[in-house]
């Protein structure tokens, strides 16, 4: 009885970390990855800026209905770090408030796309057969539309507004998640632990929701964080085309759209909103890349 009586001692060393420490380690890994850390910190900073926009903005009214015709198109200066627009509004304020729109719209669009895409992918992957074919062929169809084009068509159809643009993005985005989740579920379905659960008599729905979906979620989260940037970019593009946010909303793409009439003469008008988009999207991309490296052991350590 020696082998059962003498209990194996818990493994020492790095493999034996409690859950909290593991999370801490994840954070540490994130911080050790310099690009990802920069991305994470920037995202955090942007979120804070957006949150405290009313406090930080020199002229909060300029984000809404205020106009100051006397201060039209002033170059960047002490009072107006980003200059003013054609109606005399402080561009710094508008860009700051634009962060609120972009971040909120991005979050809503991604959440909606996830809400559609993840369950469909889980069903397709686990059920297989007819449902799989049906869902995946439909997914193929939606994916065959270049997403910007589809979002454009939908936004054009629903009417031009920020809400509709977000809806259009969500409607053109979900298939990516369906694909990822399905692929994950299909590969997980064959994994021994799922087989083991079946052999234990665990019912199908429990397997899907307790084993498959949680395990499939990691790549989805990575993808979603990468997509956050793309969504912000698409939203800006739609607004730039005139079918997204509507004036006087200080949406970044819309600001660039308005500013393009002046960009050769008043460089600051398009430059700062564009920089804001660029920084935000890059931050999310860096963060997403970092998350992927942390969650995907294949690339881990190859910082």
């Amino acid at each position: 009885m020696s082998s059962t009586a003498k209990a194996a001692s818990p493994a020492p060393g790095p493999r034996a970390l409690p859950a909290a420490a593991r999370r801490a380690e994840g954070l540490r890994l994130l911080l050790r990855n310099p690009l990802a850390a920069v991305g994470g910190v920037t995202v955090l900073l942007l979120a804070l800026l957006a949150l405290f926009a009313p406090v930080l903005a020199p002229a909060p009214g300029d984000a809404f209905s205020a106009v100051h015709p006397a201060q039209q198109l002033l170059p960047p200066g002490p009072g107006h770090p980003f200059g003013t627009d054609e109606l005399g509004r402080d561009l710094f304020t508008r860009v700051l408030y634009g962060a609120r729109i972009s971040l909120a719209a991005g979050a809503v669009a991604i959440a909606a796309a996830l809400a559609i895409g993840v369950p469909l992918g889980a069903v397709a992957g686990y059920a297989g057969g007819f449902w799989d074919e049906l869902i995946m062929r439909f997914t193929d169809v939606v994916l065959s539309f270049p997403s910007l084009l589809l979002a454009t068509a939908i936004a054009a159809m629903l009417g031009h507004s920020l809400t509709n643009a977000v809806a259009a993005i969500a409607l053109s985005w979900w298939p990516w998640y369906t694909r990822i989740v399905r692929a994950q579920v299909v590969s997980l379905r064959e994994r021994p632990f799922v087989e083991a659960a079946r052999a234990l008599g665990v019912p199908g729905w429990r397997i899907v929701f307790e084993h498959l979906v949680p395990n499939a979620l990691a790549p989805v989260i990575v993808q979603a964080s990468l997509d956050f940037g793309s969504v912000i970019l698409t939203l800006a593009a739609l607004s730039f085309l005139g079918i997204g946010a509507q004036p006087p909303q200080p949406e970044w793409g819309l600001l660039i759209n308005t500013g393009r009439n002046f960009f050769l003469t008043n460089w600051w008008y398009v430059t700062f909103p564009g920089l804001a988009i660029f920084l935000t999207v890059a931050a999310f991309n860096l963060l997403g890349d970092g998350l992927r490296e942390i969650l995907d052991p294949r690339t881990r350590g190859r910082v």
């Binding site: 539309f145 910007l148 454009t152």
Partner: protein
Amino acid sequence: MAAYIARRLLLGLVVIWGLTVVTFAIARVAPGDPAARWVGPHATAEQIAQARVELGLDKPLYVQYARYLGQLLHGDLGVSIRTHQPVAADIRTFLPASLELTVAGMALAVILGIPLGVAAAARSGRWLDHLTRLTSIGGVSMPTFWLAMILQLVFFKQLHLLPLSGRIDTMTPLLHPVQPITGSFLLDGLLEGNWPVFKDALAHLILPAVTLAAYPLGLIVRMLRSSMIETLGEDYVRAARAAGFKERVVVYRYALKNAIAPTLTVMALTFAYSLTGTFLIESVFDWPGLGNYAAEAVITNDYPAIMGVTIVVAVMYVALNLLVDVVQALLDPRIRTGVAS
């Protein structure tokens, strides 16, 4: 292999059929009365009713769809509300300019992207890698329409180096007439040895092409880098090194052929993206292409034009994916023989 391609083709057709259903649905759900739009602003109620019959809008939906499909099969994409030209003719007019731009942009992205992606992977973790990664993230994070303007500001306004916009100077083809062969000033100039036209067209092409290339370049570098890193960690790469092959052979011959497959898919994707990317930058560069046309159509709710462009681009995309499937099959014998699909 033939069966594999046939199967892919079949799936592509299914997808295209699905596309037509979606575009049909969108066109039907779209606000506004197509019949009223058809007859124009001063029409009477009877004229509208008559137009409804003429257009078959009084028929059940499935009949309308059949009719729509029939028209599509005959290359009839309807008549643009804005230009009053058949959409198919419009697309024929505008597509070549967009293709010229897209091909130039993609070529730039591929030619720069592949060596950069490989180099970054091979020097993973070193300064070149970091630099390449930052650049690629920059590429995919840059709003193209903004990049377009910034490039114009720098290269036109500040440096006076490149023309602001357009496909060619208005005067150039008048001073140096070209016979349209391909419809592309660049190619025609080249083919006819008309250097002023060629040079002018090339100068005009640079900024839009660079703008368009930024995103695909970033994507290709990123994709290739990660798939190369994965491939370089494979046993067969270690085996190739152990066999004493030169690093260049190991990387560019043995690893790249494996790693390029996922990147090809991305390239097909980005080609379609670039075509739609032209939506955003053609107007900035006043490039007389499909993107400009589509952007105008979007702003004016010109549904026939939007749907026409959508279908054409989507079909090209499906065709391109098919091509990628074939190339991948050529690259990977396992796909060819159906071991992995």
